[in-house]
Structures are given as C-alpha cells and as structure tokens.
C-alpha cells in the first residue's frame, strides 16, 4: 500500500468519514436547491407578468382598461376596455360553481356515506376517468353536443324577440355548463376526502340519538366536513377561472356583458384566442389580461390558505 505512506489518512476510517461528509453536504445542498427552485419559479412568473403587464396598464390608464367596456385592440384608435371580460370570468365561474358544486357535493356524499360497495365501484372510477379527460375534449364535445341543444333552447326562448342576436348556442350558458362538468371531478374527490375524514363518533352520536341515515349525512357529517368542502369549492373556482382552451371553443368569443344567451369572452380565452396575431401594444395588453387573471387566482389561493388554516384550528 504505497499510497498509505503518501497520504496517511486515505483508506482509514477518518478519511472515509470525511469523504462521506462531503457527499452528504453536496446531497443536502442539491436537495435544498431543488426546493428553492420552486420558490424561484413562482417569483419569476410573478415578476415577469408584472414587468410585462404593468407598463401597458399604466400607459393606457388602469381605469380605462379595467372599467372600459369597449375592446377594439386593432382599430385605428385602439380601445382596451376589459370590464366585460372580467365580469364574464366572474359570472361564468359563479354560474359554473352554482351548477357544478351541488352535484359534486351530493356525489361525494353518495360515495362516502350512502353507496354500498358495489355502486361505489361503478361511480368512483367514472369520476376518476372524468378527471383524466383532457380539457380540449370538453371543448370539442361542448361545441358539437351541447351548443346545438342550447341553440334549440335559445330558439324557443327568444322566438318573439326580434332584437335578440342569436348565438347558435355558443354563449355564456354553454360555457358555464362545460365548466361545471370540468370542475366536478375536483369538487367530488376533495369533498369525498373531507367527508371520509369526519370522525366516526359524529356519525355514531347522530345515529344513537335517533337520527336517520339521511339526517346523519346532511345534519351531522356534512357540517363537520365543511372546511374540507369549502376547500373543494375554492379549488373548483380556481380551475374554472383559469380554464382557457375548452371555453374558447364553446363561449362564442365576442366581448359582451355576461348574459346567459350572449356570446362572451373570458379572461383566459382572450389570451388564447388573440395571442396568435397580437402585436405591439395589443400584445402587451394580453399580458395585462394575464396579470388580472393572475391576481384573481392569487385571491383564490389566499382564500384557500385561510380556509385551510381555519380548518386546522377547528380540529386542533
């Protein structure tokens, strides 16, 4: 062992240990760097959207953009009012939640409390598969299946109003229905988890006091799971606000105030449908829309964090 005379420690326990410590240190640094990358990603996305979106916002004027009602980005005297687009996103999301959440919560209650194993074995995989369907497919099916149905409804409803501009079924109502279906899997799976984590004592107590099964579910179990169900709803809201591709295909796409039978444009779809040809100020304005969308989602996230904190406080 010639090397041993040159380096007295190599091959010894001490040298081994030093090498090991170095490897340990490197490993820890690499793992830490990975974790910090997540922070870096969020910070850079935020800063990038701010840097790209704020200048146009200030140059045109926040009031003119956020409260303006005319969106004519390519006119000789361009106008960039996105008030109706913002309202559409809010109204469309609200309508989707109104339609989708009750079905979602009831389905979750079915899966967790009411269904026997055989029925649950049919419904649960269906929900999981629903979650796996790509969003463009919802757009395709909405366009070819739902829009004609809504158009028929529109034709009968507005038969006697000559000043109604027919949308062919591509309107806010269709978009909200598609969104409602899209948020279903999220709402169901999160609510189901929440309902399942209700302590069995609550059920037992309700049943022991003479409550029927339905009373137990609706009066005892669901209220006990309310913070988890609230989380489910907020996650659904987040998904609905941010959806772009599917809605771009079924909502019509004109900038209009949000009424059920008007062709409308959402924040997210405005970006997708115009990015292809927008240039200059118009393009900057799409980043501003992105910034508005981002702020909306940050608000959703803040609500989520608050609910989660309240939820842990309840149990702890």
């Amino acid at each position: 062992m010639k090397t041993e005379t040159k380096h007295p420690h190599s091959g010894s326990v001490m040298a081994d240990r030093r090498k090991k410590n170095a490897a340990e240190g490197i490993a820890q640094t690499v793992f830490a760097a990975c974790a910090f990358f997540v922070i870096l990603a969020v910070v850079s996305i935020t800063l990038y959207l701010l840097a790209k979106g704020v200048p146009a916002l200030l140059q045109v004027g926040p009031g003119k953009i956020l409260l303006g009602t005319v969106w004519k980005p390519t006119a000789a005297e361009p106008q960039y009012g996105i008030f109706h687009v913002i309202l559409t996103s809010l109204a469309g999301t609200a309508l989707a939640v109104l339609l989708g959440v009750p079905v979602g919560i009831l389905t979750a209650a079915f899966l967790a409390e009411i269904a026997d194993r055989r029925l649950a074995a049919v419904v649960k995989p269906a929900v999981e598969l629903l979650a796996g369907i790509p969003s463009v497919l919802y757009g395709l099916l909405g366009l070819t299946l739902l829009n004609p149905l809504i158009y028929r409804l529109e034709l009968t409803l507005f038969r006697d109003s000559p000043d109604h501009r027919f949308t062919g079924g591509a309107n806010l109502l269709s978009a909200a229905l598609v969104l409602a279906v899209m948020i279903l899997p999220t709402v169901i799976s999160v609510s189901e988890t929440a309902i399942r984590s209700v302590p069995p004592g609550i059920r037992a107590a309700s049943l022991a006091l003479g409550g029927s099964r339905v009373q137990t579910v609706f009066r005892a179990v669901l209220p006990a799971a309310k913070s988890g169900i609230a989380t489910a709803i907020v996650l659904g809201v987040g998904r609905a606000v941010g959806e772009a591709a599917a809605i771009a295909l079924v909502a019509g796409g004109c900038v209009n105030p949000p009424f059920p039978f008007r062709s409308v444009r959402f924040l997210a779809t405005a970006i997708v449908s115009e990015m292809g040809y927008a240039a200059g100020r118009h393009r900057q304005m799409l980043f501003t829309i992105g910034l508005v969308l981002f702020s909306l989602l940050m608000a959703v996230n803040a609500a989520l964090t608050k609910i989660r904190k309240a939820g842990t406080g309840e149990h702890g």
Partner: protein
C-alpha cells in the same frame, strides 16, 4: 292508536327527496362519462385508421395523419419529465427529510400550492415570453417542455412528499442505526420504498402533459412533421436533437386547431386517441396505487 305506534315507519318526504337527489347526482357523473365517451367514439372511430396513426397530413393526397403529433407528444413528455422529475423529487426529499419545520418550509409549501393554482394559459404566457423570447428558444419543443415542467412540478412534489410520508419511521431509524448516512439511507431505502407513489405523480404529470393545449399553443407551436430520418444511429440522434429546437404540436394542440378550423372528423379521431391514452394512464395509476398498498 295507529299514529302513535313505534312500529310504523315514519314517512319523511323531505328525506326521500334528498336521497333521490344524492342518487341523481351520482348517476349524473356516470351518465356524463358514458355519454361523452360514447359520442366521441361514435363520431371519431371512423377517422382512426392505420394510415391516420402512422402518416402525417398530406394536403396533396387529401389524407390526414397524426404520426408527427404523436411523436411530438412523446418527445415533449419525455423532455418535461427529464426536467421535472429530478427537481420535483429533490424538492420533496428536502422538504420531508432535511428541512426543519419553520418559515422556510411553509414558504416552499405555499409556493408549491401557488404554482399548482396557476392556470395553464399563464404558464403559456410566461413560457412564450421567458423561454421563447428572453432565452431565445423560440417556438420549439424545448420551450414547450420547459414550460410544462414548471406546470407539473407541484404534482410530482406533492405525490413524492406523500409517498415519503407513508414510509414507516422504522425504515429511517433502522437504516441510520445500522450506520448508513442520511443520503445513503434516502437513496437505498426511502426512494425505493416510495417509488410507487413517485410513479403516481409522474403518471398524473404525463396525463396533464398529453392533455395540455393552452400552455403549448404559444410555446411549442403546431408543426406536425416527422423528424427527418437520420440514416445512421448518429444521424438519428442528431436529427432528434435538432427537432428539440423546432416547433412541434402535440395531439391536444392539433385537436384544438382542427376544431377551430371546423374539421371535426379529424378532431374526433384525435379525441379517440387522447381518450385511449387517458384510460391507459388511469389504469397505470391504479396499478401503482395497488403496488403502493401492498408494499406498505
């Protein structure tokens, strides 16, 4: 007398209504799924043929094919995972094995959740601007893959974290007690034990990558050509490498564009392929879950 007996079951109309609402809601999900898939195959199965799957669209011959889009999809999925798996698993290992609970961990968890909440169209906007323009990668598969890597990162982090949490504490103390260093313990004990959970995260990520369109439309573009044949092995590698910096549309992007152009038959055909892929992935996720349960 009859009204006061305990033995007569009390009728509760409100309850019957609620119960039927519950059954109705549950059947809505099942019927939605069956209806959608049935309609999709009814309209799309005719478009799917061997030629549709193995050739590219030929305007002169008036045939449509999606082979190029399929290869783009696989290519983007592979590139995305190559970037996202090490980062995501690393971050999760740091969070659950190294970091001490405190402000820093809270911040990382919070940002992971924020990242998960950002809609795909904003990832697309950021990817187009930052990777495409600032870094000069243009409309390319690489730009698309880097964008999607950010998007699926939270999925991988969360699933890995949960999988690590499910590894019994005894595995850790056992390995450390036998003299293993922490990194050695993570490499040889924890990660193998958590593998099915990590795999679940990866499969869910693949599902999102395959189904994504809004984030890719302005990052990876829409080209549907096949990579140039390389001739030799080296040539193939080089043409694949060049492909990375070329524009390429995935199946979902192609579907979106076909619908916009009103070519529904092709769109439904692609839809069938996407649904088949989604089902396959779902099955694999289930298998991973079963393995995870058996292991634990």
């Amino acid at each position: 007398m009859d009204e006061t007996t305990l033995y007569r079951k009390r009728k509760r109309p409100a309850e019957a209504f609620l119960l039927s609402a519950v059954y109705g809601a549950a059947s809505v999900s099942v019927m939605l799924l069956c209806g959608m898939i049935g309609y999709l195959f009814f309209r799309g199965a005719g478009a799917v043929s061997w030629r549709f799957l193995t050739t590219v669209t030929d305007v002169a011959k008036k045939t449509s094919g999606i082979a190029g889009n399929m290869i783009n999809t696989l290519y983007i999925a592979a590139l995305t995972l190559l970037a996202a798996i090490p980062l995501g698993v690393g971050a999760a290992v740091y969070l659950s094995e190294y970091a001490k609970p405190g402000k820093l961990v809270n911040l990382i968890v919070f940002t992971t959740e924020t990242l998960a909440g950002i809609p795909s169209v904003l990832f697309g906007l950021f990817g187009m601007g930052f990777f495409g323009e600032t870094l000069g990668l243009g409309y390319s598969l690489l730009t698309g893959a880097l964008t999607l890597a950010l998007m699926v990162l939270p999925l991988i982090v969360r699933n890995t974290q949960e999988a690590l949490r499910a590894v019994p504490e005894g595995y850790r103390s056992g390995a450390l007690g036998l003299g293993a260093s922490r990194f050695y313990m993570i490499r040889t004990v924890l990660l193998p034990a958590a593998m099915p959970g990590i795999l679940t995260g990866v499969l869910l990520s693949v599902g999102r990558i395959v189904g994504e369109s809004a984030a890719l439309l302005f990052t990876a573009g829409s080209d549907g050509h096949l990579p140039k044949p390389g001739g030799s092995a080296f040539g193939t590698i080089r043409s694949l490498g060049e492909k990375m910096l070329e524009s390429g549309g995935t199946l979902a992007v192609e579907l979106y564009l076909q619908v916009q152009n009103g070519r529904y038959e092709t769109a439904f055909g692609i839809g069938c392929v996407l649904i088949a892929a989604a089902f396959g992935l779902n099955l694999l996720v289930k298998l991973a879950a079963v393995r995870l349960r058996n292991r634990a």
